[in-house]
Amino acid sequence: MITQFLLDTWLLWLLLGVGGLLWWGGRDSQYVNYVFNRYLLALATLVLVSGIVFSLMEVLPGDCAEKYIAYKNTQGETITEADIQAERVRMGLDKSLPERWGRWVTNLTLRGDLGFSCAKRQSVNLALGNRFWMSFMFCIAGLMFSYLIAVPFGILSAFTINKPWTDKNPQHSKAEQLAGTAVLSLQKVVDLLLRIISYLGLALPNFLLALTIILLYVFAGEPMPTGLFSDQWVNVPWFGPDGFETGKFYDFLGHIWLPIFVIGWSATALQLQTVRALVVDESNKLYVDAARARGVDGLTLWAGYPVRHSISPLFNSIGFDFQRVFNDLPIVAVVIGLTDSAALLIEALSMTNDQELAAAILFLVALVVISMNFMTDVVLAAIDPRVRKSVLGNG
């Protein structure tokens, strides 16, 4: 019996256990104390979020009882208003909002049970399956794509920011000036291109970009790469009789570039501007000049000084970058025809009024974002001495 009880409530014990460990460690070490505080804050925020999400899903019309009765209706039974009301009482839907919310939260924290989807007539965990993982992977891939492009180009852009177009230094000979002008102009052109790209990235929303790409395919007369696999590879398993199916992998790559590119597009544009602004800010500080005065130059200077100090704020924003990317995912999923949880979300919200599923997906997203924020805070406080100092006082 006890084992059953413990199994039923494993998530709760896990959370409490971690909390307890942190509290114990926090009595002596200021750092662990800080981690403990963030942990509590994260949990509190999660609770608040669950409250908001739950109440918001209430605005979706139709509750579980109606859906159940409607289902019964399709089975051929007739229904009356009294039936619906009776069903409500049976399901406990007539209880007040806080009570129902409380029950949902307890289910969630005790077991990790996301609820029961009345529209789909199955548990939400089952309905979601691995789709949330899919969305998660998409977003992470999109984010990595955007970081891979934005960070180096942002730094390059920052490097050219205050340089003039031409070399008019009276100390250089005419030949040197010409060469200098050529180099400077090239840098400026690159910078201008990057800025235009970043503006376009902001102006062209993801779905429009997806549309444009599809249009281009139409003009080219090629079949559109919707979905994750083309028809011939959809049902082929990854590991066939000859081992790993490389054909399926290439097909996958051929399809996956579109969603990742579209998802990462506006994230890249935003990141470009952020990275550029951060690096420019840091490179104007005195310590960079001081390093130059010591003879540090070129790549060592840039990598070691402004860039290294800009990484912290960049790293810190990962959580909200993820949230922004996930925000755009539903529409992209609809346009491109993906079948991940974002598509499910749209379907749940706009078509089937599946409150439980929608609430669960939103909660999961919030969970990911909050966990990411927690982890970045903790990691930064551990490795970046400036953060450590400001957060822990003179520790």
């Binding site: 926090g26 009595r27 200021q30 104390n33 205050n162 340089k163 003039p164 008019k168 230094n169 009276p170 100390q171 500080k285 005195l286 310590y287 000049d289 001081a290 390093a291 130059r292 005065a293 010591r294 003879g295 540090v296 130059d297 070691g304 000084y305 290294r308 100090h309 912290s312 970046d384 001495p385 400036r386 100092k389 006082g393």
Partner: protein
């Protein structure tokens, strides 16, 4: 002194800047030379071009600086003359850390905050001397020891924010010396330091210079510091060198009026006023006053930080009282507490001889309207103490309008104009916004605002610290005028002893929240009783008294008086 080859020679250096307003000349035809192992003092105020010159020697001028064609900078390195301005690429390392090194005004800002000091110093040595990591580390710790950092091995591996102010400056000196440069450029290295630490750092630099036979280009605005350390002096004003010569000549037989003005800012210990016959009545009494701030202590507890510890004090009326202390002494907290702007944890403040009784403290809250008409504050930072979105007239009129002391706009305007004239602000300028005024003018506006409702007591919290030396003199004279014409009592808070010596009648010395000593200015400066006060007084950078007496030319005493009157006549 042997006439040898110059280590560094600057000829006709002209530097312009591309700004929004066009091409602005920062340095105009400057010529300068430094011989090996010689110290050149480069003196000037902000805008004089001294920092730009130093940066250009190391080829660190900002991108929008244009060094004009005829300029020449030559460095004599290992017997060869090197044209510094034509260096390119890796050769630049010669003037950046190799033969020439630099130390900056703000040691905190010149170390990378997130990289250990050891990594930065080792990197420097690896670049220039090719040492291995272990070798560099050993040399680095040795240097730390040499510059007087206690527990050098531990401090070597720390981050810059873990060191105290004086230690940071020493660490920076250690880093600059690690490559054994021939020329050390010091850009205002002691300006941001407390007086006692300043003296120590100066001594250290002199010592190192002797040991290493290094030349120095010492940039500062303080002629007292220059007198201690320099062999030759160049005085710069607005990009031009207005006076050049040996230190003795420039400091004791100054030719140019600008140099004389700068010399005037030094404390004239011969001219300290006599204490008045009978001490006037106290205007305000402070009894058992303590000021405490809550801070986050270790772990989860909040601790109280006591800035002012149980001070009792009487301030005589109609005098300028100086409140001296180093940073962290609690002087600002005490000043603010007298105005009811700091959290008082025990004791109280009482004003005498006022229309309405003004007294407050623990248990007795401040009656702001009464207090505002009795006492006012002039802040330290002229840039943040004026609301950038209000015109000068509105700023000055604020007390009148806030407390509805006047009946009509005309009356307010009249009072504003009256007080503006007294503070030497031109009436047409009242329409302007703060961004149109210089630092000194802004302080005048601050003072005018404090005066407009005719208080009896003004607290000037480091009010001239952010200003250039020559502007400081004007503001100080204004304060003296106000004391004489209006019978104002002024509490002047400062860490700069030379300013106090030139201005105050009565001095109080604070340390770590406690009152160490108080007395007339003559007593404190010429006959300090407490050990701490003695230490403070001895560390003031003064013109070397012995030298001044023996080298004094007949015109010197008269010149001192002359220059005082010259300054007080000038108005800007």
């Amino acid at each position: 002194m042997t006439v040898g080859i110059n280590l560094l020679e600057i000829r006709d250096l002209t530097i312009d800047f591309h700004t929004d307003e066009g091409l602005v000349r920062a340095v105009d035809n400057l010529s300068l030379s430094i011989r090996p192992a010689e110290v050149m003092g480069l003196v000037g105020e902000s805008g004089s071009g001294k920092s730009v010159t130093a940066k250009t020697i190391m080829r660190l001028a900002p991108d929008n600086a244009v060094v004009q064609h005829l300029s020449q900078i030559t460095l004599n390195h290992q017997g060869q003359d090197v044209n510094v301005l034509k260096l390119r690429g890796r050769d630049l390392r010669l003037v950046r850390g190799n033969a020439v090194s630099m130390i900056f005004q703000e040691p905190m800002a010149s170390f990378a905050p997130a990289i250990r000091i050891s990594d930065q110093i080792i990197q420097t040595m690896q670049i220039h001397l090719g040492y291995s990591k272990d070798q560099a580390r050993r040399v680095g710790i040795e240097l730390f020891d040499r510059v007087g950092i206690v527990d050098p091995a531990k401090r070597f591996d720390q981050y810059v924010f873990e060191l105290s102010g004086g230690m940071r400056q020493r660490a920076m000196i250690a880093m600059a010396l690690s490559t054994q440069p021939k020329l050390l450029i010091a850009d205002e290295p002691t300006t941001a330091l407390d007086v006692t630490i300043q003296a120590q750092v100066l001594d250290l630099m002199m010592e190192l210079r002797e040991q290493m036979g290094m030349a120095m280009l010492f940039i500062t605005h303080d002629l007292g510091v220059v007198s201690k350390i320099a062999d030759n002096v160049t005085v710069m004003q607005r990009g031009k060198a207005v006076e050049v010569g040996s230190a003795e000549r420039v400091l004791f037989q100054p030719q140019h009026p600008y140099t004389r003005r700068l010399l005037d800012a030094l404390p004239h210990l011969e001219n300290l006023p006599e204490a008045p016959r009978h001490t006037p009545e106290p205007l305000l009494s402070v009894k058992n006053l303590s000021v405490s701030y809550p801070t986050s202590g270790k772990g989860r507890k909040t601790e109280l930080f006591t800035a002012v510890k149980n001070i009792s004090l009487d301030l005589p009326e109609g005098q300028i009282i100086g409140l001296v202390g180093e940073s962290g002494s609690g002087k600002t907290s005490l000043g603010k507490a007298m105005l009811g702007a700091a959290p008082i944890s025990s004791g109280g403040v009482q004003y005498h001889n006022t229309e309405k009784k003004v007294t407050f403290g623990v248990g007795k809250p401040v009656k702001r309207k009464h207090l505002a008409r009795t006492a006012q504050l002039v802040f330290q930072d002229p840039y943040s103490s004026l609301n950038p979105r209000m015109t000068a007239r509105d700023i000055i009129a604020e007390p009148l309008e806030a407390m509805r002391l006047t009946k009509s706009r005309e009356e307010t305007d009249q009072k504003v104009i009256e007080v503006a004239k007294r503070c030497h602000i031109e009436v047409e300028h009242l329409r302007r916004f703060p961004h149109a005024f210089s630092g000194g003018q802004r302080q005048r506006i601050s003072i005018a605002r404090a005066l407009v409702c005719k208080p009896k007591f003004i607290v000037a919290d480091e009010s001239v610290a952010a200003l250039d030396v020559s502007i400081q003199a004007e503001i100080l004279n204004l304060l003296k005028e106000l004391k004489e014409e209006l019978g104002l009592t002024i509490l002047f808070i400062s860490h700069d002893l030379s300013v106090i010596a030139n201005l105050c009648d009565w001095v109080c010395v604070m340390r770590h929240g406690e009152l160490v000593e108080q007395g007339s200015v003559r007593q404190i400066f010429l006959n300090p009783q407490q050990a701490y006060t003695q230490k403070l007084i001895s560390s003031i950078a003064l013109l070397d008294a012995k030298e001044s007496r023996s080298h004094r030319s007949p015109e010197w005493p008269c010149m001192a008086e002359q220059s005082v009157s010259v300054v007080s006549c000038e108005r800007v």
